[in-house]
């Protein structure tokens, strides 16, 4: 088999970058450590731009296990962007509060590499390995502040539950393999014929389980496999009831890692989720929409209700991110086995919401990091009077929180609007209604934060106005502008996303076209 190694050059470069950053720290011991951060950020930025330009028109696959299509390229650039902003926001934080900076940045790069591979994987074991690369990097990063007991606790909890969830998922994969005899998602030749045995093809050949037809007695094995994979993924994205590790890991992790975990980790897991459930599992959609729907409803409800009681900002954001996962799962529920165009709309809506959410979340965390750099505190009440001390930070946080609550002007409104409408169109009125109600509840706890910033005067010993470092302030301006832009005019971004999700449905579209042809 001819393997076209040029397709995965960005991944090689990333692996090289991680090694170089770590090695460079050994070679240049006297250099101010912050330059490693800026150098890493610059490298990530350059890789992102070059990848976008060089690969956008590629449509190929690497030995059928990694696809390099619009979807992959979009997510490559997206993950690189997340890593870029995370590193940029982390530089001052790492300098003040962490040791071994180069390893810190190197691990971030490794995690990003895992994400990029995950989005490209179209084979279950490849995806699993990418996910593990990502998770292991995160286990270490969460515990990176090794003198802090919270950091250790979070890391340990995350690792134990993470290992458990990996085992679940692996078992699910083995069952799917047992039923279908393959781990490939899908694959079609240029002439529109399925290339060899693959999951989607096999599932489609079972021919609608809903009608009671179960020729090979495959249904139980398939169902358990699907449930186990969903549960494993549920752990990774922290969907209720698999969310227990999230608040502790978020609270224990160094702030930039919390940001990276909530943005990058989620985005990668959802890229995997989306590719798996569209390319491979779409023909069995009737089998899984209902339990993903229940998962979504539970996640939205529990996440929001738990968030109401939090006093620590990181824990609040942890529960808030759990509830956001619930909204994102609504996008998965909007997938439909027979109406391919509608499914693609749902997938695009999901990616759009994901990008909006991630941009917003990084904005919140970048602002909180700037605040933490100055004060070293992260309880909600510590934000008191921030509007007096640093109006720009307060404005950024307020704008981002309004966006998370789904208020107009900001990204959260437009993207949620489109995504819930997709669920409505797929007949899930009740789920959309829960989603809208849940967003309404979320407004309450976001307002509690905004109230602290705007209503009260600064308290405590440190009440002076303070400055935010230039790179961080610049990053924040870009992120908030992005949040507003997506909120006001999502069309261009959506068009890009829509052309990228097209590749997810190639086989499904070809199969349904063939069915119509008959």
């Amino acid at each position: 088999m001819d393997l076209e190694y040029q397709l995965i050059i960005p991944e090689f470069v990333m692996a090289g970058l991680a090694v170089v950053v770590i090695a460079a720290a050994l070679a240049f011991r006297n250099v101010d450590q912050k330059w490693f951060g800026y150098a890493t950020a610059a490298a990530l930025g350059i890789i992102a731009v070059v990848t976008a330009i060089a690969y956008w028109n590629t449509h190929d696959d690497f030995g059928n296990v990694l696809a390099v299509d619009h979807f992959t390229v979009l997510f490559r650039v997206f993950f690189l962007g997340i890593a870029f902003f995370t590193v940029l926001a982390a530089v001052q934080f790492a300098g003040d509060r962490l040791k071994n900076h180069a390893e810190f940045y190197g691990l971030i790069v490794f995690a990003t590499l895992g994400m990029m591979l995950l989005a490209a994987s179209r084979e279950l074991l490849t995806a699993y390995l990418s996910l593990e690369l990502l998770s292991f990097s995160f286990y270490i990063l969460v515990g990176f502040n090794k003198l802090n007991p919270f950091s250790n606790e979070g890391s340990l909890k995350y690792m134990l539950l993470g290992a458990f969830s990996s085992a679940l998922m692996l078992y699910g994969i083995s069952l799917i393999y047992g039923v279908t005899g393959t781990t490939l998602y899908s694959g079609i030749e240029p002439d529109g014929v399925a290339a060899g045995r693959n999951i989607a093809d096999q599932l489609a050949s079972f021919g609608g389980f809903g009608g009671g037809v179960d020729p090979d007695g495959a249904r139980p094995g398939l169902l358990i496999g699907l449930v186990l994979i969903t549960a494993g993924l549920g752990f990774k994205v922290s969907a209720v009831p698999f969310h227990q590790w999230t608040p502790d890991a978020y609270q224990g992790a160094p702030l930039p890692i919390t940001a990276f975990l909530s943005a990058g980790g989620k985005a990668a897991a959802f890229a995997f989720f989306l590719r798996l459930f569209t390319e491979a599992f779409l023909p069995a959609a009737n089998e899984w929409v209902w339990f993903v729907g229940i998962l979504a409803a539970l996640t939205m409800i529990v996440g929001n209700l738990m968030a109401l009681q939090q006093t620590n900002f990181k824990r609040l954001m942890a529960y808030s991110s759990i509830s956001q996962v619930g909204y994102l799962l609504v996008g998965i529920v909007a997938l439909n086995a027979t109406n391919i165009a509608q499914s693609q709309d749902a997938a695009s809506a999901l990616v759009l919401h994901l990008i909006g959410y991630v941009t917003t979340n990084i904005a919140v965390f970048a602002a909180i990091i700037a605040f933490y750099n100055r004060t070293g505190r992260d309880d909600i009440v510590d934000l008191r009077g921030l509007a007096e001390r640093q109006p720009f930070l307060a404005f950024s946080i307020a704008a981002a929180l309004f966006s998370l609550a789904g208020m107009p002007l900001f990204a959260g409104f437009a993207t949620k609007f489109i995504m819930f409408q997709a669920a409505f169109n797929n007949g899930f009125l009740w789920l959309g209604a829960i989603g809208v109600t849940a967003s309404f509840v979320s407004l309450y706890y976001y307002l509690m934060v905004i109230k602290q910033m705007y209503l009260y005067e600064p308290e405590g010993a440190d009440r002076e106005r303070f400055h935010v470092s230039r790179p961080l302030a610049g990053a924040l301006v870009v992120l908030v502008a992005g949040v507003l832009f997506i909120g006001l005019y999502p069309t261009p971004l959506f068009d890009v996303i829509h052309s990228s999700t097209e590749s997810l449905f190639e086989q499904a579209a070809a199969l349904s076209a063939a069915a119509v042809g008959k």
Binding site: M407, P408, Q421, L429, V436, S439, K451, T491
Partner: protein, 506 residues
């Protein structure tokens, strides 16, 4: 008539002023104030122009303007979400109302000294949002503007408010946003049911929604919007919110924001889902009647001036909902007239109370007495507002309430009686209030009070002019409102009242 750009200006002027203010250093307080003043003068002129030029002989939607915004993505087809603006004979007076109250609001906000820049930025956001709701013809944009009008309230109350402001602000925001959740779900359902791939109201109005669908989703709009209009039993946010809010915000809030609710019932409920009116409008009539009486009785018991006016607003908005509930042309005409009349009247009330409170630092009715000796102008203006409120002929309240009662007698005589009863109760609390605070023995504690500032006098005159104009010559209003109301689906024609103008040809 297609000078739609005039409508666009209503959004661009305050929206632009908001952005401009953002870049003014916050120490230049007067620059910020004058930007706000010039902005509201410009929008007022534009509003008056739109009201005047609206061609009532032609009727229907005019000044139509449509720009594509988000289209051809996902399930959105051509013009999926567009910036579609237009006014009809109901929106035209509302646009004028917002222009008047916004201008007066800036005048009385002149004395705000705490974080002036932030105040006017939020004020302009609210002001723009309200215009957007009145002129928007696209459900997505409409909802967007609706939220834009509601959200700044939280910060406006929390930062610049008084009495129990944290509680009042949070309650107000959560109840109103709770209402908009219902609207949101209703919008989704209407969009999906219509299957036209567009949120354009002009298209959705043409869709014939089935009776069972309409009956199911009409209450989403009726209650969702109704909450903002002080619909009983969801009205409790309103007095608390009014009391907590700073003067200008109370004015805008009671003056125009509560009208958005009633307006929403017309726009979303009566126009898009007319099949649901048969079943639900009687409910609205009953709830409106209850609110009218209940609000008036509650107002009698209050000792805080702002609470009196807050409950009085609930009572008067109850008239509006009652008028809508009659579903005949006279009643609905009256509801729209009352929206305008109550808007200017209550804004005047709050402006006057604000002027008193800033000096006296209390609003307790029991401690005032003989204010007329120190503040004659205050008493005159306050008295005019009070007399409008109790429906004195010659002032706008009479015209509006008379329509509503005539309409109600036709459909539901018992509730007409209830309405008239509550008008009588209004007389009790207004006259008692006047007798106690304005007249009566002078309390020497208030020796140091001064009369209204010139900004407040200007604001009062701006608001009193339309009250008297509508009271003595309601034709310009009725000319615009009546034909539009007559065109509303499902509204029964029971003849005309007052509409003597031959110009309408009806």
């Amino acid at each position: 008539m297609d000078a739609g750009e005039a409508l666009l200006l209503l959004l661009l002027i305050p929206g632009g002023a908001m952005l401009l203010t953002l870049f003014v250093p916050s120490r230049h307080v007067n620059v910020v104030r004058y930007i706000a003043l010039i902005t509201t003068i410009a929008t007022l002129i534009d509003s008056i122009w739109i009201f005047a030029v609206y061609d009532f002989a032609e009727g229907g939607y005019q000044f139509d303007l449509q720009y594509p915004w988000i289209e051809n993505i996902a399930f959105l087809g051509e013009n999926g979400i567009s910036l579609h603006l237009a006014v009809d004979g109901i929106a035209a007076p509302m646009v004028l109302l917002n222009g008047l109250v916004g201008f007066a609001g800036v005048l009385v906000s002149w004395k705000i000294t705490h974080r002036v820049k932030d105040f006017f930025i939020l004020f302009m956001a609210l002001f723009t949002g309200v215009y957007g709701v009145y002129i928007g013809q696209d459900l997505f944009f409409w909802f967007f503007a609706y939220e834009l009008a509601v959200l700044p309230m939280y910060l406006l109350i929390v930062i610049w408010g008084s009495t129990n402001k944290e509680y009042g602000a949070m309650k107000l925001t959560m109840v109103l946003v709770g209402g908009s959740v219902l609207i949101f779900i209703g919008i989704f359902a209407v969009f999906a049911e219509a299957g036209a791939g567009t949120f354009d109201m002009a298209v959705l109005r043409e869709v014939n929604f089935g009776r069972s669908f309409a009956n199911t989703f009409f209450p989403f709009f009726m209650i969702g919007c109704g909450i903002l209009a002080g619909l009983f039993p969801f009205h409790t946010w309103s007095p608390d919110g009014h009391v907590a809010a700073p003067t200008a915000v109370s004015m805008l809030h009671a003056g125009v924001l509560m009208k958005l609710g009633a307006f929403g019932i017309i726009r979303l409920g009566m126009e898009i889902l007319p099949a649901g009116t048969d079943f639900w409008m009687p409910v609205l009539l009953v709830l409106g009647g209850v609110a009218a009486v209940y609000g008036a009785i509650s107002a009698i018991h209050q000792t805080d001036l702002k609470f009196v006016i807050g409950y009085s607003s609930v009572s008067h908005m109850g008239f509006v909902l009652m008028g809508l509930g009659t579903m005949n042309n006279i009643g609905v005409n009256g509801a729209v007239l009352q929206m305008f009349s109550h808007g200017v009247m209550t804004a005047l009330f709050f402006a006057m109370v604000g002027g008193l409170y800033d000096q006296a630092h209390t609003r307790d009715i029991r401690v005032f007495g003989g204010l007329v000796r120190k503040m004659p102008l205050f008493v005159i203006f306050f008295g005019i507002a009070g007399l409008t409120s109790l429906g004195l002929p010659g002032l706008s309240g009479f015209v509006a309430e008379f329509h509503i009662f005539v309409g109600a007698i036709d459909t539901f005589p018992l509730f007409a009686a209830l309405g008239i009863l509550s008008a009588a109760l209004t007389a009790i609390y207004v006259l008692r209030l006047m007798g106690r605070a304005a007249l009566g023995p002078f309390n020497p504690r208030w020796e140091s009070l001064k009369d209204l500032s010139r900004w407040e006098i200007a604001a009062a005159i701006v608001l009193i002019a339309p009250i008297i104009a509508m009271g003595v010559w309601p034709d310009p209003f009725i000319d615009r409102i009546a034909p539009t109301v007559a065109d509303l689906p499902q509204v029964e024609q029971i003849g005309n009242l007052f509409t003597l103008s031959s110009l309408t040809g009806r």
